[in-house]
Amino acid sequence: MRRDEINLSEPPNNDRPGDRWMCGRTGEPCVRGPIGRGQCSSSEPCRPRRTWHGRRKRWTLVGMLTIVAAMIVIARPATRAAIVKPGELSTPHAQILSSTLDSRRCAACHPHSSAVGDSVANVTQSDRCMDCHHETMNRSTATLAHNLPARVRSDLRLASLRLAGSSDRDTTWRDWMPSVAVDQENVQCNACHREHRGAVASLTAMTNDQCQTCHSDRFGSFADSHPTWDQWPYGRGGVIAFDHASHATKHFPKTILEGQPTSFECGVCHARQANGELTRTTSYETACQTCHDGALRIEAAEGVELLTLPSVAKRCADAIGAWPEGATGFYDGRIAGLADLLIRVDADANAAMRSLPNQDFAKIDDQHDQSEQAARIVAREHRQLLETIGNEGQSAMVERFAKSGISPSIAARMIRSLPPQLIEEACRRWFADEDNLAETTSTNAPKIRPAAFKMPARGDDDLLGESSDDDLLGDPLDSDPLDLDSQETKSTVQQPSRFDADAMLPAGGWFRDDRTFAIRYRGEGHDDPVLKAAIELAGELTPGDPARTRLLETKSLAACIACHPAAIAATRTSDERWRSYPLVGRPREFTKFAHSPHLNIAGLSDCRHCHTIAAGSVVSVSANQHGHEFAAVGIEACAGCHQSSAAGDACVKCHRYHVETSP
């Protein structure tokens, strides 16, 4: 059974593996072989067989045809979008496009996607993005780096350099790297946001490298190389001045309730909301009222004065004309802030008022003619003002306030509850001759004087209180002059005694003080509308305005401002002056912070872990600069957890790219 036993002949050796056909003969093949397309040319034709080369050619042909067919399928417009799509869109985008026709789908985002000729010139993909995203982003600044104009960016950069204390940065090897592929003035959306990465892929996930593309002064880890900060997170414009330090260390421990010192709980004021975030403040009623209401009411009762007749010398009073006896004698009385505003509308009076030192009659040198002249003019202007208001009512006041630069809305709130009748009555009482009230001049002044003497006698505080009640209850326009007349007669008859505002006006309101010849307002307590308006009014004045100074010196207003330092800031809206507004919803800033994830960590649930009260801190209160009594939260506080291996130290953890500029 040896193989050698069989001897097979060698195959023909006229191989032509490069030909497509070969002789199909099984024995000795013909010399010539098949020609062309496999025809045997010999006299006894064989059936030529394909060589491997021939078979391969055929298969290749089939393969090519398949490829061509596949290409045709791809090129068909109907199926192109579905086939060409390189990956699933993120779900929101996919949902938006689901209603779009297949053939238009690509072009929704890709302006050059359609076949040649149909593409829209000069439209970039970012423009397409902004077609939808203009709601959250300004189209004009959308492609600027950080959505900020170059000037702002350069300011920020310089500021940060100043903060770092060096004017030039280190040269590193990275400076030799090729420059950034994006132009900072023209950053396309797709530079960072890459689509077609699957339905659940995050479009906003960014790497540190992407940030550091432009921020080429590299940071290593957050813990090691992030620049430090000093004030954060404080000093960002809180509007309520609350001295955490004294409350925590002094007031609360001193307050003994049920035999126990009250504990100072952060959570009482800064409660966790449903979304996990903390409230920035709580209401007055919840937090402050218990302790501060009484004192606040007393301070508010001081109120604010609209006008007080100054006391003038007899000679001067005579020159004025009708002038109350009680305000005659020696020069005294300071011009009220509000009166200043109303008087300064008259140029002569204003000049005279300014010539009085410190607008204080007490400082008038009565030997000095000119001073006396000014005093006379100012005093007369007081009377005239009262008469004007008495005649023309609130509109005259609003008009005068407006001329002094006070917005009518604030003026209106200020004087809403001030009835002109009160003024008219005051005129009548203080300046005796009421018939000549309308045309008081220097010539008929003597005629008026006796009336001034009459006035206190006729003064009826009770009635005045009534009328001020009326004012508070109803529209002053409703009151009938006849009715007023009858009231006045009634009052003259009834009450000769002095009006005690504390007793008569516990809910607050405008009243006439016949003793001091003043028109005053008595505040009610927290959230008094007139006091608020007065502060806002003061805020409208330029700092340094004497009227402003005098207004703010008013005890009641000073009490408000002690806790509402932002109230006198003219730039804010009325609500922003008084209420602490949440940081959420404000224009997007470079940094962001959420308490909620932090509070879930056991060690951090105590606020004092991060927010410690600085020892010996003093609350400095001013309208715009908010001092605080906390020690700054240093980088160490964050870096403990925020490391790449733990809570993460990616730039975008704390920083935003898209920054909004305040409008």
Partner: protein, 273 residues
């Protein structure tokens, strides 16, 4: 100059590929971190690599021109292929991309790559197995050999004189040997050549021995020799077919890949911004 040994050449080439890949990776990372679209860079690198890879086919079809030896081209092809596969991994977000066309394209790429790597493996291992088997049959002559063996077997049987052994042998031939000699090897055998068939037939022939007298026993021995020859031939056929088939798969799909790659590049370019 003494040409460098294959081993050194392999080492050098791998080092060059590694260096090239790391350079590309560096540029890729740099571009990525510069907010540029690095996929354009990697994509065009892959496309250029594919063009270089395709050039091997062009060179093979132009044997008359002194364009450097095909083996040099094959070496370049091989390592550019490894390089292209590496760059491809950088280029794609996932090995098999999403989307119908891209998915198809990546499958084609992987198919070509895999067939290439298989081809490398096959062309380095199968020749040794082929050499180990007796007879260096040329592929196109396999059919010729097959018919010759079948005919020889037929004549062997015809030459047997009439005796009892002949009937035994004849029936064995009809039942087992003829189907073996006269038909092509089965698909299963071609895919995975085994010695089962050969052993079964040979042991069958051996079993017959005791029913045979001397003359037919020697014929049975010849049949056994023919069975071995035929099995060797089929083995050669199977392995050579494998060596040839992967080239066809590789080349046809590489053309598909080139066409698809160009289409993909055009699409990507137009949809860039």
């Amino acid at each position: 100059m003494m040409p460098i040994s294959f081993r050194t050449r392999r080492k050098l080439s791998l080092i060059v590929v590694a260096v090239a890949l790391s350079i590309v990776y560096g540029i890729f990372r740099l571009e990525e971190s510069r907010l540029a679209h690095a996929s354009f860079f990697t994509g065009f690198t892959v496309l250029a690599s594919i063009l270089i890879l395709i050039l091997l086919g062009v060179r093979r079809r132009l044997p008359v021109l002194p364009l450097g030896s095909v083996s040099t081209w094959t070496q370049v092809h091989l390592y550019v292929g490894v390089f292209a596969a590496g760059v491809y991994v950088m280029h794609v977000p996932a090995l098999i991309a999403g989307g119908v066309f891209e998915c198809g394209l990546s499958i084609v790429f992987l198919l070509v790559t895999c067939s290439g790597f298989y081809g490398l493996y096959a062309s380095r291992t199968l020749p040794k197995r082929l050499t180990a088997v007796e007879g260096q049959h040329r592929f196109d002559r396999v059919v010729w050999h097959r018919t010759q063996i079948a005919e020889t077997a037929r004549t062997l049987l015809d030459d047997l004189h009439e005796n009892s052994g002949m009937r035994v042998l004849g029936s064995f031939y009809t039942h087992y040997l003829r189907p073996f000699f006269e038909t092509r090897p089965s698909m299963a055998y071609v895919l995975m050549p085994t010695g089962v068939r050969r052993r079964r037939l040979l042991s069958g022939l051996k079993e017959l021995d005791r029913y045979l007298e001397d003359e037919s026993r020697s014929t049975a021995g010849r049949f056994a020799a023919l069975v071995r020859r035929r099995d060797d031939l089929d083995y050669q056929f199977a392995l050579q077919l494998r060596l040839r088939l992967w080239v066809v798969v590789h080349s046809v799909f590489s053309i598909a890949l080139l066409a698809g790659g160009i289409v993909h590049a055009v699409i990507a370019w137009r949809h860039a911004g």
